[in-house]
């Protein structure tokens, strides 16, 4: 086992462990902060797989913005710093089962698709190579995604406007 593999393993354990803590924590704020650790560890994994661009974007967008958004929403909606502030719903077991099924499904897809492939020697995740791939092989999915995002944006504006002046 090389050093890189060892570090990858440690990061993966941190990611999964903090994800579990995030789900089981009794305090909502702690859940959000454990999520930061999970996302950071996943960014580290990306880095080890030479996907530098994805790693930094992961930190910039998810840790820097999405988690802040989550915390902001928590703060606005209720006093969320106390003990037992995370609600336990009856759906939690269903959610857990769904989560496990999704993990198995995605993992199987990954193993079936990429087993035995090695990334040694070529740097797949630089900004240049990702940009090149996006605008040559993946133009159509890219444009469709931007359309979906635009629709979501318009939807958000419509929802937030309705009620004040229809």
């Amino acid at each position: 086992m090389t050093l890189a593999e060892l570090v990858f393993l440690v990061l993966a354990v941190i990611a999964v462990g903090s994800a579990l803590l995030s789900m089981t924590s009794g305090q909502l704020v702690h859940s959000a902060l454990w999520l930061v650790v999970t996302l950071g560890a996943v960014a580290g994994c990306f880095l080890l797989m030479t996907a530098e661009f994805v790693a930094w974007v992961q930190v910039l967008v998810y840790v820097g913005s999405v988690v802040v958004l989550v915390i902001f929403a928590l703060m606005l909606t209720r006093q969320s710093t106390g003990e037992k502030s995370a609600e336990v719903t009856g759906n939690r077991w269903l959610a857990a089962i769904l989560g496990v099924v999704a993990a198995i499904g995605l993992g199987a897809t990954m193993i079936a698709g990429f087993r035995g492939e090695e990334i040694e020697g070529r740097r797949i995740g630089t900004a240049g190579s990702i940009g090149h791939a996006l605008f040559t092989d993946w133009v159509l999915p890219f444009e469709i995604l931007s359309g979906v995002l635009l629709a979501a944006l318009v939807g958000a504006i419509v929802i937030s406007r309705s009620g004040s002046d229809r």
Binding site: Q27, V29, H30, L33, V36, E52, F53, W56, V57, V59, L60, V63, G64, S65, V67, V68, L69, I71, F72, M75, L76, T81, T126, A127
Partner: protein, 322 residues
């Protein structure tokens, strides 16, 4: 072996810069602000014009008792200052100072994606303030934390957009590459981007006039209300380190980094001079402008800076394609 020595030496240099430059900016703030307000500022500590004031402050902070409020969320409260401080140290690793007497570029680590790396590190730093606001168990801290979160969400976007515009023009995300591609006419072509980047950076650091989260007249000290001693000192150091990182980034992206006479030999001097100049502007802004109200903070971001940054990107696109 020499590679290892080189890497360790670079890390030590960055650590040295991290421990001295923020203090320099802090001292400059003391003195410059004082003279702008017809005062003289610290004069006693150290003898000559109070040069050792911040050292004396540091000694005082170390002696203070470390207090955690009873209502606080202990772990979050204790961890927050470190989360605020460390990312700026990491960010400083990637900011280049330029050629050093023909010995190559003075930089902690030249990264292929330096720009994204620094922006990502800066965006983590502000989580520390947020954690302080949430973990203190104090209503003023809590409201301050909410304002921090609102401010961050508004200003992250224009900042990244303005930086992206320069990267597009330079055709690279490496900070050294951007500074080397820089040409004097960019000062004009990227002026809106420069303004947007600088203003959004000020807001991200919660420096006046964007210090609504700390507003001492309304919120005592916002997220930092319950902090004292070393932990408070770490937050202060994070603030000044943030100024250094912002000034360094502005210099490298928009002001040409080490561009100047004899830049092969003295490039690093030019970069440092420009960093000091931008830091002075940060301090000047604190003295010159009154604090923005919370709604003004957010409308400035969404109604002025974001459209301006988007227009700048559109203009840069035209330049690049043409």
């Amino acid at each position: 072996m020499s590679e290892l020595v080189d890497a360790v030496l670079r890390c030590l240099l960055v650590l040295g810069a991290f421990l001295t430059l923020p203090l320099l900016v802090g001292q400059m703030e003391h003195k410059a602000m004082a003279h702008m307000q017809s005062r003289v500022g610290p004069m006693a500590a150290g003898g000559f014009h109070g040069w050792a004031q911040l050292v004396a402050d540091g000694v005082k902070f170390v002696q203070k008792e470390s207090i955690v409020p009873g209502a606080a969320d202990r772990k979050v409260f204790e961890l927050a200052p470190a989360v605020a401080l460390v990312p700026y140290l990491v960010a400083l690793l990637a900011i280049p100072l330029g050629p050093f007497f023909g010995q190559g570029n003075l930089v902690g680590q030249d990264l292929d994606l330096g720009l994204f790396f620094v922006l990502a590190a800066m965006s983590v730093g502000v989580l520390g303030t947020l954690m302080g606001g949430l973990g203190s168990g104090n209503k003023y801290s809590y409201i301050g934390g909410m304002r921090v979160a609102a401010q961050l969400m508004s200003y992250e976007l224009p900042m990244v957009l303005a930086a992206a515009s320069v990267a597009m023009l330079a055709g690279t995300l490496s900070l050294i590459g951007i500074a080397e591609a820089w040409e004097p006419w960019w000062l004009l072509a990227q002026l809106p981007g420069l303004v947007v980047f600088f203003v959004a950076g000020l807001a991200e650091l919660q420096r006046p006039p964007f210090d609504a989260p700390l507003a001492d007249a309304e919120l005592v000290m916002g997220p930092l209300t319950e902090y004292g001693g070393m932990r408070f000192a770490m937050f202060l150091l994070a603030e000044y380190a943030g100024i250094v990182v912002l000034a360094g980034l502005t210099t490298v992206l928009f002001l040409g980094g080490w561009a100047g006479p004899w830049s092969d030999q003295l490039g690093w001097v030019w970069t440092l001079l420009k960093i000091v100049l931008v830091s002075f502007l940060v301090i000047w802004a604190r003295v010159a402008y009154p604090r923005l109200r919370e709604d003004q903070v957010n409308s400035l971001a969404w109604k002025v800076l974001v459209p301006l940054a988007l227009a700048q990107i559109a203009f840069t696109t035209v330049l690049v394609v043409w």
